[in-house]
Structures are given as structure tokens and as C-alpha cells.
Subunit: 247 residues, 2 copies
């Protein structure tokens, strides 16, 4: 497990918050809870932090105490190998949880970095465990969230293990589109928060290959790219590329 160097203090503003008023509660941890149960969750999740673009929410090696729910913004997580190689393991957006990897060792096993100015809800993990021993719905939903993370990771393994560059990028764009849609944003038009290099790292490709694939998609009329701005023009076309698997 790579240990990170001493961490400089990051500027985090702290605000009161409440799940019961949060418009993400259908996506996030409170899903399925009654009014009264949600009030109890509110007692626990009462701190919100602002993280500025580029700042770390946590770093690999730091003691694990809390998980975080993204209230707004965009994050990446990445892992570092001893020999200097690193890889982005995921991009997280509003309503998703960060820090689940830290439960296993009592230490975080990856870095979480804000890709834009963001706000997260701070959830002390032992208190969450306490509460989920009392609220079955919460317990079960939390287990589902962890399990979903495992399933997601299997999907990424599939992508990395069996797909070619353009298939990977198509899958990536479709995934982003679907997640933006679930949050009420346009499914067809969005700004990428990450660089080509970060996309490449996530997809197991070099940034040049990502760039070429974007250009190729544009030539074929599947998308319109202008730097970080993406418009998806042909979703079925992308799906076909994703599962072409041609010989």
C-alpha cells in the first residue's frame, strides 16, 4: 500500500447541511428512508466541506475515519504503485460515495482529488455503522452501494481486459451520458471535467490514443468535440462501436 507524504492542510469550509433537504437524496445514501429515519441520518451527516478544484479530499495512506457523499462537483480517485505508475480508478459525481476503499485497512488506499470546485458531506463511518445497526433500510442500502461499486469495478475490468481503444472510449462516453441524465442534466451535451490524460489513465490508454479516438468519432459524426465540450450526436452509433467486437 503506497504511503503518501505528509499532507499539507487543505482549505475546507464547513457548513451545516441536511439530507432531508438534499435534492440528491434519491441517488445517495438516504434512499428509501422514512422521514423519521432521515432525520436520524441528518444528525450524523451534519458537516459539509468545500473542496476546491485540484485539492485532495484524502490521500492514500491517511487513516480512514469517514466516507464522503458528493453534494456537488466532480472527483477522480487514483492509485499509485511503488514504481511510480499510477492509474485513475474512477470519476465520481454528485450523489456518489467516496472512501469505501478505506474500510478494509483503516487507511485510504487511493487519492481523491476534486476536478472542479466541489462540496461533500462528511459521514463518520463508525457512526454510520451504529445507525445502520438500528435502521435496516439504511443498512441494506449501504450494502447495495458497496456491492454496486464492486459490480462497477468488474465492468471496468471487462473494459480494460477485452475492449479496444475506440470501444473503451465509446463505453466511457455512454456511461458519462447516462450518469448525467440520471442527475437531470442533458444526456447529449456536457463538459468533461478531466483531461485527456486522465481519461486515458482510466481507460488504460495514452492521451494521444484518446485524442485520436475523439477525432475519429467526430469524423464519423458520432460526437462533436471542442476541447472539453462534448455533444453526443449518435448514441446508437456509439453503442454499436462499443459492442462491435469485430474480426
Amino acid at each position: 500500500m503506497p504511503l503518501s507524504p505528509v499532507v499539507k492542510e487543505i482549505s475546507i469550509a464547513v457548513i451545516k447541511t441536511a439530507c432531508s433537504n438534499c435534492n440528491l437524496r434519491e441517488l445517495c445514501l438516504p434512499f428509501g428512508l422514512s422521514e423519521e429515519e432521515m432525520a436520524r441520518l441528518d444528525e450524523l451527516i451534519n458537516v459539509r466541506k468545500r473542496i476546491k478544484r485540484g485539492e485532495h479530499l484524502y490521500r492514500a495512506g491517511q487513516p480512514f475515519e469517514s466516507i464522503y457523499a458528493i453534494r456537488s462537483g466532480f472527483f477522480k480517485t487514483d492509485v499509485l504503485l511503488e514504481d511510480g505508475r499510477d492509474q485513475v480508478t474512477g470519476f465520481q459525481m454528485a450523489g456518489e460515495l467516496l472512501g469505501l476503499d478505506g474500510i478494509s485497512n483503516e487507511h485510504h488506499s487511493c487519492n481523491a482529488v476534486a476536478l472542479e470546485d466541489s462540496e461533500v458531506c462528511h459521514i463518520p463511518f463508525s457512526r454510520l455503522e451504529n445507525l445502520s445497526r438500528e435502521i435496516q433500510t439504511l443498512q441494506h442500502h449501504f450494502h447495495k452501494v458497496m456491492s454496486r461499486e464492486i459490480v462497477r469495478d468488474h465492468g471496468v475490468m471487462m473494459l480494460l481486459g477485452t475492449m479496444r481503444a475506440e470501444e473503451r472510449l465509446a463505453a466511457f462516453l455512454l456511461n458519462l451520458s447516462q450518469r448525467f441524465t440520471a442527475r437531470g442534466f442533458s444526456h447529449a451535451e456536457f463538459n468533461l471535467r478531466m483531461t485527456r490524460e486522465e481519461i486515458g489513465s482510466y481507460l488504460g490508454l495514452k492521451l494521444e490514443t484518446v485524442s485520436r479516438a475523439f477525432s475519429r468519432f467526430q469524423e464519423e459524426g458520432l460526437i462533436a468535440v471542442q476541447q472539453k465540450h462534448i455533444r453526443i450526436l449518435n448514441i446508437p452509433g456509439l453503442k454499436q462501436i462499443m459492442s462491435h467486437h469485430n474480426h
Copy 2:
């Protein structure tokens, strides 16, 4: 989520069992429990099933009801894409849990196949949730196990995203060796339960590439290969290959 066809009934022998007598309890779910707590877990995990080599423990698409602890034997899990591609997502051995991916959807998202005659303990999941609402140690340990699975998957993503063929195979062998050691077997000599094709699928390589890498390791005196029998001769050498990352 790929749905599997109707599943033929598999021959499963059912036996009484008990965690308190199990020599894997330090690796498995009962870890850290008191005598009395373990007795309560025993009430829940009272069925053991035999799975013969080649049989499925469960299939993608089947309703999820239970997780399984491997009592003895060896499994693989794999996922299938709509277009026919598939990939092995993991190899599991004694003391490890199977089925965690099914919690998220109420349906299994992968297939679990025995690679040798095996025995598993059947753990009804809702009863496990009930009990872990009462036993904090059990709850926390279960969370750790799920989290460990996430961390493991990140490691595989790293492997698939950044390593070359020989690095992947070295990492794979070292991982197997370490897990055999943890179970009291020789760290240096073991039989592979899986084919070259299954290793390749897991590592994102073709079977020919796996075979060539084995031959290369043998030429270099790092291992001795005879079909499925492996002797590891030079662990530091393998570690060096794994993290060579040379230019």
C-alpha cells in the same frame, strides 16, 4: 446485465457444518468473533454444499439470496457481455466469499464456477444482515471484506491498465503464492487450477501470450513449469519483473 438461460439443476450435496470448528475461521467471516457470537453465526450458516469441478455455484441473472464462503476448493467468477465477450473477474480459494456482487441488484451479476471439487458454506444474506445488526464485530468485519474486494478490484484495474504481459503474469503468480502461503500451503510450489486461457482472460491476454510468458520465466530460471504444476524459484526476480516499468 446479461441474463443467463434457464439453469439446469446441479447436483449439490448438503451437509451440516459449523464455523466454530472450521480451520478457516481466521480467514473467513467469523474473524474476531467471541465464542458466543460464533455460535450465533453457526445457527445461520448451517448448510454446506458440494460443488463438483465444472459446475456452477450460481449464474449471472439468477436471483440473489445468499453469499457463499468457500470451505475448500477453487472457483472462478466471470462476466459475459451482450456481444459474447467474457472475462474472468477473479479466482477464489478457501476462506473467501462469493456472491457479493449480487447484493446490488438482487441478482447475481456474474457466474461462479468450481475449478475443482469444492465445498461452500451457504449464508442466507438477509439473515446475515439481521445478525450483523446485533453483532457489531460481525458487521464491521463484513464491511471490511466488501471493502477489501473493492481494493482488490482496483489492483486488477491497475494491472490491466498499466502493466505489460510479463508484469501481469508475475503479479498473478506472486498473488497466488501469497494466498497459498496464507492458507498454510507451500508458497513455492502449487498446481494451477485454471487453464492458460482462463489466466489470460483474467489478465487481459491471449492464451498464447500467457504460455510464452511462462516459457520465458522458465528460461530465465524464475520458475519451473510443467503443465499446471508451478514451482517458483526466484520470488525477488518475479517482483522485479512486476515492477520493472522500464523504458
